[in-house]
Symmetry: C2
Subunit: 451 residues, 2 copies
């Protein structure tokens, strides 16, 4: 559509358009507080989503609302701050415009923080039949699916069918895969045993498939060993050095065997989200935008990419920084400072990554932590990490209450979360209602385009 | 499908099949605790849903999980108690069987407690274009729709379009309609003002349309007056003695005017959910199954209908009892006692309704209450009513904590609930995934039918 977005313009204000409200985008907006700037935050959803805990939503451990933070609340009261829910389609760096699903918008500075999506490496069958874990909607989908598998397993008297329904395969031995497998083992211990006395708990299989020779490959071997030992202790079957070839008709084909299963989670790779408007030579591996040490893209002075979607090759990081929250948040701070410096006519500061360590949860309150040369596991590290990360968000306003609410729901094993809510089922009124409304919107867009 | 459901049979146990886990079904299961019975609870979902507060989910006041109670947790530990998530299609009262989406099941006693659905009185356009409020899924749909209307209103520069998006029409002046209109007025006060500084709060219109000459027609005139005054005070426009003719292209046609609006909620009528197998003369008005004073259907000694779906004409209730929680819960208790009496060879007790009063919330913590000749409004009555109703559910197990959690979230105006989560949007991977899995299930059903 060719209309201009309805955002006030003013000669005094430099407009900074931020695409994406993940860790990078959110921290950037938080940092750049100067009255000379107007900030426009564009996102497909209306909320920040604390991705590291999405696996808890999928396994009915916490509510989506406990790890979701609506932008409008986070930035309530900020002057010259505008939020629009839309999809960004394309950038024109020459005319300094982005094209979105709700119109065009001119920028003085553009900050691209679009994050990552799941990577299926081109395998259509996997893309169409496995579950991913990148958005709140996906996490809720997975929760429904897991609970429905339990329900269907209770009912069937076909033992092969029951086996399929109770076999849960997680593909990918990185932090997300390890966390999800650990949480599924918790579900077997706490949920299946209590809620499904008709089912034999031992018949639930949890299998973690990974291509490498050790889990948590980006961690130190000691952490990998601890994760492997803990998961085995909880009854997770590890299939390492194993590739996935395909998944059809509820059979997962591995390089060395076949597993009948109705539940496959795909956490084996990520690919940066992109928008149109950049030539292919501006992209590096994983679809990441190549940036210089100031996070600038393609030689443009006013276009920046941050976090997961940026590829900055530095001395200690020849393949770019890890695609986790810490580099994203630090790049955001540095970028906000540099944009301010440009306005002040000061020198820019190159980005320097301060590696505060890594961490993965492998069970309820059980984690592996690596920081400042230390490698340890357990509850304390888990808590410290959690508080540091969450405080970056909740610190915005005095949102400690929400944190307490979350901790409460996490520790009380609130069984009310185990509800199946399928909003749109075949032939359902809601589905038809959604379709009707979609049609109305499309007609409006056409009308706007023609006018 | 022609298979038998996989539920253990035993000559010593009489099987009671309960269809529906609303107020009636749940209370029946709670009451009938005798080792001579096996209970099988069938429901389309896996949880009881506290319907009187669904309007709070729709207006982002509470989480679905706060008013949903999974059956498996509620009945954890009960012996000879089986739960199946399925749709009940048909009853054969001669062979004493129900047919469901997952197979057939024989019963000794059948308890039909299927509740109500929204009634559009045959108007297809209304059915396809307005929002209802009977299920958790619908409430979440409405929440997303309301928040998206706000977002779209912020963006548009077409003033007619903005007017449509900010006009909210509730059709139906009963308790649900009054409550929803009141809650929308709360959203204008608390949410719109805070989260959308770009929008002029006064531009949000809330209109309540009703065919009668006073709201809450089943209440006393004093209550109606109080509700009308309070809603007007909160800026709700009342259009009474007004009929709705149609809703097309975002224009609502009333008997005396037309209102351009993108948001129409339909709460103007209910119709009892039915299943196949009963002849048309067994149904009374509102599609309710005619029952005798023991809640028995069609002259059968072992088939009962309870609550909203039952029509029992008694001296003080020539049109049947009101379709609310109280009669449903009391009929459930009486029916459970009578089934036990039948096994003991004792006389059955006819149902007698103890009218404990009615109540409707018209604003946050503001209600009208009628009980034992008293008619009053305000906060205390609201709290008393709430505690009585919720305790019937939460009393099952020591679930007070969940109640506290709910009260917390209600009083803190948790803004995190204001998240838009659309699981299935056009062309989305999740939608295709759901379709693929539906197909697999259908193929399985066909296989089972043919075998």
């Amino acid at each position: 559509m060719d209309r201009l977005m309805d955002i006030p313009s003013s000669a005094e204000l430099k407009r900074v358009v931020v695409v994406g409200g993940g860790f990078a985008g959110l921290n950037f907006c938080k940092r750049l507080k100067d009255e000379r700037f107007q900030i426009v935050l564009l996102d497909k959803t209306n909320h920040h989503n604390f991705q590291p805990l999405l696996y808890q939503v999928a396994t009915a451990g916490v509510e989506p609302s406990s790890i979701s933070f609506p932008f409008r609340s986070l930035f309530a009261g900020r002057k010259n701050f505008h939020i629009r829910m839309c999809e960004v389609l394309e950038t024109d760096a020459e005319t300094q415009e982005v094209k979105t699903s709700i119109g065009r918008l001119h920028y003085d500075y553009l900050v691209i923080a679009t994050g990552c999506d799941t990577n299926y490496f081109g395998n259509k069958a996997l893309e169409e039949n496995t579950m991913a874990l990148k958005t709140t909607a996906e996490a809720l989908y997975n929760r429904n699916h897991i609970l429905e598998s339990f329900e269907r397993a209770v009912d069937t008297d076909d033992m092969q069918e029951r086996e399929k329904l109770l076999t849960f395969v997680v593909v990918g031995g990185g932090a997300t895969g390890v966390e999800l497998a650990g949480a599924l083992a918790e579900m077997r211990r706490f949920v299946l045993r209590k809620d499904y006395p008709d089912l034999d708990v031992d018949k639930m299989r949890i299998i973690l498939v990974d291509g490498k020779d050790r889990l948590l490959y980006s961690f130190k071997p000691k952490s990998s060993r601890e994760a492997e030992e803990y998961l085995r202790y909880r009854g997770v079957e590890l299939k390492q050095k194993t590739r996935v070839l395909g998944y059809e008709n509820e059979v997962l084909r591995l390089s060395n065997e076949e597993i009948p299963t109705a539940n496959v989670f795909w956490t084996a790779g990520v690919i940066a989200n992109s928008m149109g408007g950049f030539s292919s030579d501006m992209y590096g591996h994983g679809n990441r935008l190549i940036v210089d040490e100031f996070n600038r893209v393609g030689g443009y002075k006013n276009v920046f990419a941050l976090g997961d979607t940026a590829l900055m090759k530095q001395k200690d990081w020849p393949d770019g920084h890890p695609q986790v929250a810490q580099p994203a948040m630090q790049q955001a701070d540095n970028c906000a400072d540099n944009i301010l410096a440009m306005e002040n006519g000061e020198a820019l500061k190159p980005f320097k990554y301060h590696d505060r360590g890594s961490m993965a949860t492998i069970g309820r309150n059980h984690a592996v932590v690596e920081t400042k040369g230390l490698v340890f596991g357990g509850f304390l590290g888990w808590l410290v990490w959690l508080v540091i990360h969450l405080m970056n968000i909740v610190g915005f306003k005095n949102r400690l209450l929400i944190f307490i609410d979350w901790v409460w729901s996490y520790f009380t094993h609130n069984s009310n979360l185990r509800i199946v809510v399928r909003p749109l089922i075949k032939g359902d009124r809601l589905y038809r209602l959604m379709k009707a409304q979609e049609q109305i919107r499309e007609q409006k867009h056409k009308k706007t385009d023609n006018s």
